[in-house]
C-alpha cells in the first residue's frame, strides 16, 4: 500500500451544504406556483401510467415506498389524472327476481340513468297504490264483482233451497252442529223431541230414517259443491281483477317502458314487474286498507312493495371513471354485503338490503387499498383475489363462512368486474407477498416503487420549495419566507442523511412545516422564518430526546466510561447510532482489545455472548484477514485477541465499528497508545481501506455533544470514512466549532491514515527487503506477532502440541 496522503480536517464549508434556491425568485411561498402531483418520481409515475392504461388482466399495481412518503396521496393524484382518460362506467342496480326472490338480478344501465329508473318505478308504484284501490272500489267494478258473487251465491242458495224443500217435504229439518250439519225429524218446522219420536209407530220412524238416509247423500253432495263454487268464484274474481287492473296499469307501464326501451334488460324487468303486479293485486288492496287505518306498512323498508323497488347499487353522478379509496377493507366494505331487518324476532332481508362494496363503487375505474389493512382483515385478501380471478363481484356473507347464522339469505347475481386495483404499502409487504403468495404476481404485475430521496440540485430544491408552498397553502398554514424554505430544504437533505440528496418522506416535512407555522404564530410572525423552522426542529428533537439526554448524562457523570482526552493502548472511542421510533442519535462507545499468543483467533466477545449480530461478526472476521495478509507472512498467525464494546448491554450489529476495532487491535499489538480525544467510525476491508457507513451526521454530533459538554479542547474530532464526507449535513454548532478550530472532522481513506492520526506514528511500508522501517507502527505489530509465534512454538514443543485457545 502506498504512503497515505497527508490528512486534513474537512473544511467547514463542506460540513453543511446550504440551500441555494437559485432557481426561484420569491420572498415567501405564497408567491410560488403550486406543485401538482409528485416530485421527481418518474419510475413510479411510469409504472402507474402503465398500470392504469394497459388493458390486460393482472396488471394491477402495488405502490410502495418509505413510510411517511405519502404514497397514498401521491398515487391518488396520479389515479385522479388517469381516471379522466377513462370512460364513465355503467350504473348498477339490483332488482327483485320475481321467479326466485333469493337470487336478485343485477342490471347495468348507462352511467347516471339508474336513479331515473328507481324514481320512475317508485312513482309508478305510489301512483298505483292510489289508482288500483280506486278502480277496484269503482261502481262498475263493484257491480261486476257483485254479479259474480251473486251468481255463485244464487247457485248456493238454490242448492240450499232445493235441499231444504226436499227435506221439508219428507218431514226432515237440517240443523247446524258446531262443526257441521245434521238432520232431524221435524213437524211444523220444529224438531220432534226424541220422546215424541220414539212414541211414533215403527213404520213412521223407519220412513224418517229412510228419508234421512237418502237426504244425507244430497246434503253431502251439496256441501261438496261449495268449495268448487268458491274456487269458481275466486277464479272469476281474479280474472276480473286482472282485466280491471290491466286497464289501470297499461298506460303508466307503457310510458315507463318507452323511457328505457333502449335497454332490453330493463324493459324485460319492467314487463316482469307488470306481470307480477297483476298476480299480486291484493297487495294494493291491503295497502289501501292499511293506509285507511293510518298504518305505514307499505312505506317502510321491508314492506310488501319492496318487491317492485329498484336498489341503486352504484351510480356515476360525475360521468367520469371513479377513483375509490378503501382504507378499511373488511370483506363487507370491499365486496358489499346483505343487511338484515329484525321483524317480529326474525332476521329478514331482501334485495333492497344489498349494500355496495368499494369494488362496486370503483367498478369501471380504480380502487386504492391499504395493503396492510387488507391483509389484516379476515377473508378480504382471498376475496379480492377471487374477484380479480373471476372478474366479477360476488357478495360473500361472512356469517355463512363461519357458520354463525342459519337465517335465509340472498345469492345476488354477480356483477362483472372491470377495475384497476392499486395496493399501497411497505416494501416488506410487497416482498413478503411476492415470496409467500404464489397468486400475488399473477394479480399485481406492476410495481410502482417510490424513491425515498432524489438528487439535490437547484432544480429539485426549487421543486421542493414549491411543494412546501403547496402543502402550506393546502393545509392553511402560514407561508414560509425564503430563509425558512431554505432551512426546510436543508433539513430534507439531513433527513436523507446525505448532503447531495433530498428526502421524499414528505409526511415528515409536512409535520415540520406545520410546527414551524405554529411557532411563527406564537412568535408573532406573519410568515414563518428560518428561526421558526429551527425552533420546530429543535422542539422535535427535544420531545424525542429523553433517552439521548440520559445516555449523554451517563457519560458526563463517568458512569459510562468515555475518555475525551489522553491516550490509551488498546482502547478507542467507537461511534454508534441508536434509533428509537422516529428519532435517532449518535453515541460513543469504548472499544477495547487485549492480545496474547494463541492460535490465530480474534475473539469477538459480543458474538460469544450472542450480543453481536452477523454483520458485526463479519467485520471482526475481516480483521483476521487484514492481519493475515499484512503481517508475519512467513510465520503462522499465533495471536489470541479479544475485542469488546465496553459497557454495552444491548445488541450490536453492523460493521461500522470494524475500523475502530482494527485500530484497537493494532494499538494493542504495537503497544502504541491511541488518542482518546478522537472518535472513530467506518468499516474496513481486508486491504485496510476504510469504507462508508450510515448515520455519519448523528455519530459526529453524538461525540461532539460529549466533548462540548466537557469543554472543547481544540484537539477533539471524529475520523470518518472519506466517502462519507459528501453526506455531511451537520448541526450549526458543530460547524461553528469546526470553523473556529475547536473540533474537527477527519476524512480517512485507509487504516494507515487513521492509525497515524490516532497514534502519532507513521504506519510504514515494507522496504525492498520486505521489512517495515524501524519506528513505524506496522514494524511494531509485525515484531509482536513474530514474538507470539515464537512463544507459541516454544510452548507447543514444551507440551508436545495442543492449542491453548
Amino acid at each position: 500500500m502506498p504512503d497515505a496522503p497527508p490528512i486534513q480536517p474537512i473544511p467547514p464549508d463542506r460540513l453543511y451544504r446550504r440551500a441555494a434556491l437559485d432557481a426561484l425568485e420569491f420572498a415567501s411561498t405564497a408567491e410560488l406556483a403550486p406543485l401538482p402531483g409528485l416530485m421527481e418520481q418518474s419510475r413510479a409515475q411510469e409504472a402507474i401510467g402503465l398500470g392504469t392504461t394497459i388493458g390486460q388482466r393482472g396488471f394491477n399495481i402495488f405502490a410502495t415506498g418509505a413510510p411517511g412518503a405519502r404514497i397514498r396521496q401521491s398515487v391518488r393524484t396520479l389515479l385522479d389524472a388517469a381516471a379522466l382518460a377513462r370512460p364513465a362506467p355503467s350504473d348498477w342496480v339490483y332488482v327483485n327476481n320475481f321467479a326466485a326472490p333469493h337470487r336478485p338480478v343485477a342490471l347495468a344501465l348507462p352511467g347516471g340513468r339508474a336513479p331515473a329508473l328507481a324514481k320512475s318505478m317508485h312513482s309508478l308504484v305510489e301512483d298505483l297504490k292510489v289508482a288500483l284501490p280506486a278502480i277496484f272500489e269503482s261502481e262498475d267494478y263493484q257491480k261486476r264483482r257483485g254479479a259474480i258473487e251473486q251468481s255463485i251465491q244464487e247457485k248456493n242458495e238454490q242448492a240450499f233451497a232445493a235441499l231444504n224443500a226436499k227435506a221439508q217435504a219428507r218431514g226432515i229439518v237440517i240443523l247446524r252442529t258446531p262443526v257441521g250439519f245434521a238432520m232431524a225429524p221435524a213437524r211444523d218446522g220444529k224438531v220432534v223431541p226424541p220422546a215424541d219420536f220414539n212414541a211414533w209407530p215403527e213404520p213412521e220412524q223407519q220412513a224418517v230414517r229412510t228419508a234421512i238416509g237418502e237426504l244425507e247423500k244430497d246434503l253431502e253432495e251439496t256441501l261438496r259443491a261449495l268449495p268448487r263454487r268458491e274456487k269458481e268464484q275466486r277464479d272469476a274474481v281474479r280474472a276480473l281483477d286482472r282485466d280491471t287492473a290491466q286497464f289501470a296499469i297499461a298506460q303508466p307501464f307503457d310510458e315507463m317502458r318507452a323511457a328505457f326501451e333502449d335497454l332490453p334488460q330493463v324493459t324485460g324487468h319492467i314487463d316482469a314487474t307488470r306481470a307480477d303486479m297483476l298476480e299480486n293485486l291484493p297487495l294494493f288492496m291491503q295497502a289501501a286498507a292499511a293506509a285507511a287505518e293510518g298504518a305505514l306498512a307499505g312505506m317502510r323498508l321491508g314492506g310488501p312493495f319492496d318487491r317492485y323497488e329498484i336498489n341503486v347499487l352504484v351510480t356515476q353522478e360525475n360521468h367520469a371513471a371513479p377513483v375509490v379509496e378503501e382504507l378499511h377493507p373488511t370483506l363487507g366494505d370491499l365486496l358489499g354485503r346483505v343487511e338484515y331487518l329484525q321483524m317480529q324476532g326474525a332476521l329478514v332481508t331482501n334485495f333492497r338490503l344489498i349494500k355496495p362494496g368499494a369494488l362496486h363503487r370503483a367498478n369501471g375505474g380504480m380502487i386504492l387499498v391499504d395493503a396492510r389493512a387488507l391483509l389484516s382483515e379476515p377473508f378480504s385478501w382471498p376475496a379480492l383475489k377471487r374477484a380479480l380471478m373471476r372478474q366479477e363481484i360476488v357478495i360473500e356473507d361472512i356469517s355463512r363462512f363461519v357458520g354463525l347464522t342459519t337465517t335465509v339469505s340472498l345469492e345476488p347475481d354477480p356483477v362483472p368486474l372491470d377495475v384497476k386495483v392499486v395496493l399501497f404499502g411497505d416494501r416488506v409487504l410487497y416482498y413478503l407477498l411476492s415470496a409467500l403468495d404464489p397468486e400475488f404476481p399473477q394479480h399485481f404485475k406492476v410495481l410502482a416503487d417510490f424513491d425515498d430521496d432524489i438528487d439535490r440540485s437547484a432544480g429539485t430544491e426549487a421543486m421542493l420549495a414549491r411543494l412546501v408552498g403547496t402543502i402550506a397553502a393546502q393545509d392553511g398554514l402560514k407561508p414560509l419566507d425564503r430563509g425558512a424554505v431554505a432551512r426546510v430544504v436543508e433539513h430534507a437533505a439531513r433527513m436523507a442523511d446525505d448532503a447531495a440528496k433530498l428526502t421524499l418522506r414528505s409526511e415528515k416535512l409536512l409535520d415540520l412545516i406545520a410546527e414551524a407555522s405554529h411557532w411563527a404564530g406564537r412568535n408573532g410572525h406573519a410568515v414563518a422564518t428560518r428561526d421558526d423552522v429551527e425552533q420546530a426542529i429543535a422542539q422535535q428533537r427535544r420531545r424525542a430526546g429523553r433517552v439521548q439526554e440520559r445516555s449523554r448524562e451517563m457519560v458526563l457523570r463517568d458512569i459510562a466510561l468515555i475518555d475525551t482526552s489522553g491516550s490509551r493502548v488498546g482502547q478507542v472511542n467507537g461511534l454508534s447510532v441508536l434509533s428509537l421510533g422516529d428519532h435517532s442519535f449518535g453515541q460513543p462507545s469504548r472499544i477495547t482489545c487485549r492480545v496474547r499468543p494463541g492460535g490465530g483467533k480474534i475473539v469477538d466477545i459480543e458474538r460469544e455472548v450472542e450480543l453481536g449480530g452477523p454483520l458485526h461478526s463479519k467485520g471482526v472476521l475481516i480483521l483476521s484477514g487484514f492481519l493475515a495478509g499484512r503481517y508475519a507472512l512467513d510465520t503462522p498467525m499465533s495471536l489470541y485477541a479479544s475485542l469488546v464494546f465496553e459497557q454495552s448491554y444491548g445488541g450490536v450489529d453492523g460493521d461500522s465499528a470494524s475500523s475502530a476495532e482494527l485500530y484497537t487491535l493494532l494499538s494493542a499489538l504495537a503497544d502504541a497508545p491511541l488518542r482518546q480525544d478522537l472518535a472513530v467510525t467506518g468499516s474496513v476491508n481486508q486491504h485496510g481501506v476504510v469504507q462508508a457507513i450510515g448515520g455519519v451526521n448523528d455519530k459526529i454530533e453524538g461525540y461532539f455533544d460529549i466533548c462540548a459538554a466537557r469543554g472543547l479542547t481544540g484537539t477533539q474530532g471524529v475520523l470518518i470514512p472519506a466517502a462519507n464526507a459528501q453526506h455531511l449535513m451537520l448541526r450549526a454548532d458543530v460547524v461553528e466549532a469546526c470553523a473556529a478550530g475547536r473540533f474537527a472532522v477527519w476524512p480517512v481513506h485507509s487504516i494507515d491514515q487513521g492509525i497515524g492520526l490516532l497514534t502519532g506514528l507513521p504506519a510504514g511500508e515494507r522496504d525492498a527487503a520486505g521489512a517495515y522501517p524501524e519506528g513505524t507502527l506496522n514494524r511494531a505489530v509485525e515484531e509482536r506477532l513474530k514474538l507470539f509465534a515464537k512463544a507459541r512454538k516454544a510452548a507447543g514443543e514444551a507440551r508436545s502440541g495442543g492449542d491453548d485457545t
Binding site: 242458495e157 235441499l163 247446524r176 252442529t177 244425507e216 256441501l223 263454487r229
Partner: protein, 287 residues
Amino acid sequence: MSSGERAIHRRLIVELCHGGADARTLRAVAEFAALLELDLHGLFIEDAALLALAELPFAREIRLPTHEWQKLDADRIAGELHRAAEHAQRLLHEVAAALDVPTAFQVLRGDPAETIAAIASGSDVIVVAEPAAPGGRLAPGLSRVYEAAHGSAASLLLLPGGFTPRRGPVAVLLAGTDDPSLPPAARAAVNTRERLLVLLPEGDVALGGSVAERAMALGLSRSRVATRTLGALHAEDLLHALGHVRERLVVLTRGASAAGDVAVAVRIAADRGVPVLLVEPQPSPAQ
C-alpha cells in the same frame, strides 16, 4: 256527543253461535258498537233441538271440512258447543277491548229464534250478518233467528257479506224532523268525524233547515251536514241519490217510508256493500 238527547239504543246484540262468530265480522261489529256508543252484547244460543237430536240412535252429522259422517253424541256435542262458546267469548273480549267497548257475554240454551225474540227489546240493535262461510245459510236455523229479529222490537244492523269497513259520510234517510234515525246517524258521524248526508223527501223546504239545526244540536257543525232531496222515498230513489257517495253507513227508520222496509234495507246493504242500520220506531208515550 254534546246533545242532551237520551240515546234510544243501549245494546248491540250479536248472535255468536249461528251468525257472527268470525273475527272479521266481530271486529266490524265492535267498531259499530264504538261509533254508536253501544254496549256490545254477545249471545251464544245453544240449539236445544240439536242436543235433543243426539239422543236419537240414528242421528249423525257430517263434519266439515272433512265431509265425514259421525254419530251424534250428546256429550261430545255439549263439549263442542262449550268450546265454541269459550272461543266466541274470547274473541268478543279481544276485539271489544281493542276499541274500549263495554261488553257482556251470555250463553243460553233453547230455540235460537224464540230466544232472540224473547230477549230483544226496543233499546237493542241486533246484528244481522251474512255468514262468512258459504254453507252458513244451508241450515234454516240462521234464517229463523234473523226472522225473529225482524219481528222483534229491536232495531237491526245489517252487515252485507264480504263487506270491508271504509271511510265516507254517514247517510241517513229522514221522513221528518223527529225521525229516530237522526240521533244514531249523527252520533256515528260525530264519532267517525265524517260528514252527515241527510236524504230528505222533496218539497218540504222547512224540513232541511230544522234537520240541520237538530243535527247541530246533536254535535255536528253546519259544514259537516249535507242534504239531498229525493223524488220519492223508494229504494230506487235512495240508491240513485247515494250515487257515487261511498258512504260508510246508511241509517233508515223502519216503516217511516217506502224504503224503510227490511227487504229494501237488505237490498241496499247488498247493492251498496254497506252496513244498514234499520231503526225501529219507538212507541210514543201515548201508546
